[in-house]
Symmetry: C5
């Protein structure tokens, strides 16, 4: 899974039938202590995450289990809205 920030939403009228009831968010993956990059992942969302919120995103079957439909055509979904991150930054990492 990865951490990302919700930056928006997308809409598609002409889509695969098994996706009719899903909401799709744009999520920008983030590292720690690093400016957000410009890559974007499209993730299905059933938790109601809003723009600016930090979320945890999972790929593959994990994503389909998250939206409660193992036979829908998604491979990325928000699996949690993040309350708190407690991490040591790269500068604090002990030498290896």
């Amino acid at each position: 899974m990865f951490i990302g920030t919700v930056i928006g939403q997308l809409w598609s009228t002409k889509k695969v039938a098994n996706l009719q009831s899903l909401r799709f968010l744009l999520v920008r993956p983030q590292g720690l202590n690093r400016a957000p990059n410009t890559d974007v992942v499209v993730a299905a969302d059933v938790l109601g995450a809003g723009v600016g919120e930090k979320v945890m995103v999972a790929y593959g079957r994990a994503a389909r289990l998250a939206v409660g439909d193992e036979n829908c055509s998604i491979e990325a979904a928000v699996v949690g809205i993040i309350d708190n991150i407690d991490a040591r930054g790269p500068d604090d990492t002990a030498p290896t």
Copy 2:
């Protein structure tokens, strides 16, 4: 899933038997506020997406479910043609 732009099509006569009836598009993945790059993904398409259209592409079993054949040899497919994207660009992102 990722967002991409359809840039063309490819044809293959000598191919795996389970792919006979499929149409294959070339899709260039895109970030936001970023020039398209030169990487290209080959995605099966049953929605009739045309060159220049923005599409949502899914990988793996999600792709096979999208084309309606769980036993075909694809692992990428167009799952939706995008009508609208509402996203905050990287420059508008709140500091983290």
Copy 3:
């Protein structure tokens, strides 16, 4: 799936038993309008692709379906030999 050029072959005597009858090609992934890079994917091949041919390669279960054995230890296979590619180059892409 991705587009690549067959650049060679590899041989392995000591290998997993379920791979005994397979042929392994070296495939270099390619973008459009871009010089080939030096990364190499090992792909099983049952289509008889030759050095210099452009091929379409699929990963995962799609690859095992392509070689006709869902229980072999491969995760990449040639699924088609490409006859023709019709693509707009990056320079022709409409501004986004």
Copy 4:
């Protein structure tokens, strides 16, 4: 699988129901003889790995098998805490 260092933890109250009992670590992937980078993977953990420990992380179904629930929405998990690594650095590698 990859080698990484545990650098922290994250908490999520609003999450997919099948994740209620899991602990989530932040793991920074590492190469050999190389400074840690700033990418971060979120991995479920049932081994009790602590900050600063080197761990082995697996993706996909392997991760779900590691936490003992094939139907939970994770795709990365700590599968081992590393005691010892015996590796030749890049500078010792024989020319190819």
Copy 5:
């Protein structure tokens, strides 16, 4: 699958129960005509590959099939020890 060179081994005492009997190698992926990089993949091995040997590594279910246990928590395994590679270098590639 990819080609890599075995550069070492790792040991883990505290690990997921389904991994007890496996040997874990460190494999550095390699392109052709290119110096080895510093990225490292952890791959299970049942073929007895030694340091310095070139191997073929597969991911996902292919890896679990290679070690003969579909329910173990690995997603990378050595599937063959390479005897010979016959490849045209990038400089010999016909212009595209």
